[in-house]
Symmetry: C2
Subunit: 268 residues, 2 copies
């Protein structure tokens, strides 16, 4: 009988002023015409849509769980020990840094590597050195990054800090693992700020990371007044002036666009 | 200026009657207190939630696409021919039905089979006959069903009609591939009707398909007046009377529950 009470209350309000109120079925607050959202039918439809989307998410999560592969590295997973694992290839991190001993090989399956990376695929199918020897050397990478990289190829999961995201982005670009690359770019974009934008911009350029590049450029061109004072800027002019030219071009193009939006002529 | 028009229109209506109207931001129809849904704030929040859910779905779909494995059978897929594929085992359908020639082997990877099915895992890791010979015989199955089964283990996709759903459910139960089993059950539940409910019920019982079993039982107990006249019923009494007992028990329990809901005593 809350309903009858509500109707009565509404009439009271009406008699006091012209304001009309209705009660929101979601937050239960009263609202007037200014704050009107949807009618009940649309609300119920939206609710159904939300339920459907949630069901779809559950289905997709189950699918991901099914398709996820236990990695031969993954000894602490829920899966029981994978026993012999049937691995047929190892990856070895060959870093220039001096290490404590010989590199620890990372076991894997040729079929998985070839399925996830067109570069591994070509390497393994074409009976190159790597395929014959069963050993793939990965240059300029730490053991931890290599391990995380291989793990991602099996289960699409990685625990990323900024350093690991950079390391994995480099590997993802080199071995053309698009899904991992975009995962790393997302993390790096979320960590972008004025302090790291020039370094991020140069890094993105070097490793062909379009999303990160655009985000870094946008941060830089929002702070042009401070740009030339930064040490990284001076270094970049020295090292790769073409990248600096691209910053100015982006800034110019942004100014032109802003001006066009304002229907006013471009300022010199 | 539609807004001003709306307010004016609203006042006109008011002067004619006590009815108040607001305009739904979704369908653009006017509504009154009876049909009130949400306020604008809740509507906007719900909209954001929907957008977030859709983004999550996109992310999950990309993950599924990444984790999906091209099957060695999958010559018509978008992936380029998988070349040698590095398969290390074959599956062979051994059916009692006379066939035109020797069975066609279905190539696969031990690592994939072991990852998807605990039964294959035990079989392959324990150096049983199958592991040594590199051939796994699958009994009582057509080549097409075996092919579809192996394919599903690689990419979680299958094109199901009722017959294929039954065939794959049997394999999924035998090799404990839960995700496939629940996929087949969903299809079979959606095709359930009074005509096929008794056969569906017996089939679900035989292959331990709980969801299908419950759905079939519910269809049967909704039609108890017609049950004993059906040929399948007579056959089931003959072949497996315990299953018939379970139907009656389910019916009785439903009656008790219904009675309890109505707060009235159970009719004899």
């Amino acid at each position: 009988m809350q309903r009858a009470g509500f109707v009565a209350a509404r009439h009271e309000v009406e008699s006091e002023s012209e304001e009309e109120t209705m009660r929101c079925v979601s937050c239960q607050d009263e609202y007037d015409a200014d704050e009107a959202g949807t009618c009940k039918e649309c609300y119920e439809e939206a609710n159904e849509t939300e339920e459907e989307l949630k069901r779809e998410i559950e289905d997709l999560k189950a699918k991901v769980a099914f398709l996820r592969f236990w990695s031969p590295l993954d000894h602490h997973s829920n899966h029981r020990s994978c026993g012999p694992c049937f691995t047929d290839v190892v990856l070895v991190a060959s870093s220039d840094e001096p290490t404590a001993g010989p590199p620890v090989p990372v076991p894997a399956h040729k079929a998985i590597l070839a399925s996830r990376s067109p570069v591994f695929k070509a390497m393994l199918e074409n009976e190159m050195e790597e395929s014959r020897s069963g050993t793939i050397k990965i240059g300029d990478v730490s053991y931890d990054a290599l391990r995380a990289f291989v793990n991602y190829l099996y289960n699409a999961e990685a625990c990323l800090d900024e350093q690991m995201a950079c390391d994995l982005l480099v590997l993802a670009e080199k071995y053309q693992v698009k899904h991992l690359k975009s995962y790393c770019e997302k993390l790096l974009v979320s960590k972008l700020n004025w302090e790291n934008s020039i370094i991020g911009y140069a890094f993105a350029h070097q490793h062909n990371a379009k999303t990160l590049l655009d985000a870094a450029l946008s941060t830089i061109t929002d702070n042009m007044d401070k740009l030339t004072k930064r040490e990284e800027y001076v270094e970049l002019v020295e090292k790769d002036p073409r990248l600096v030219v691209e910053i100015y071009e982006a800034y110019l193009s942004k100014q032109v666009n802003t001006a066009a939006h304002k229907d006013s002529p471009v300022k010199p």
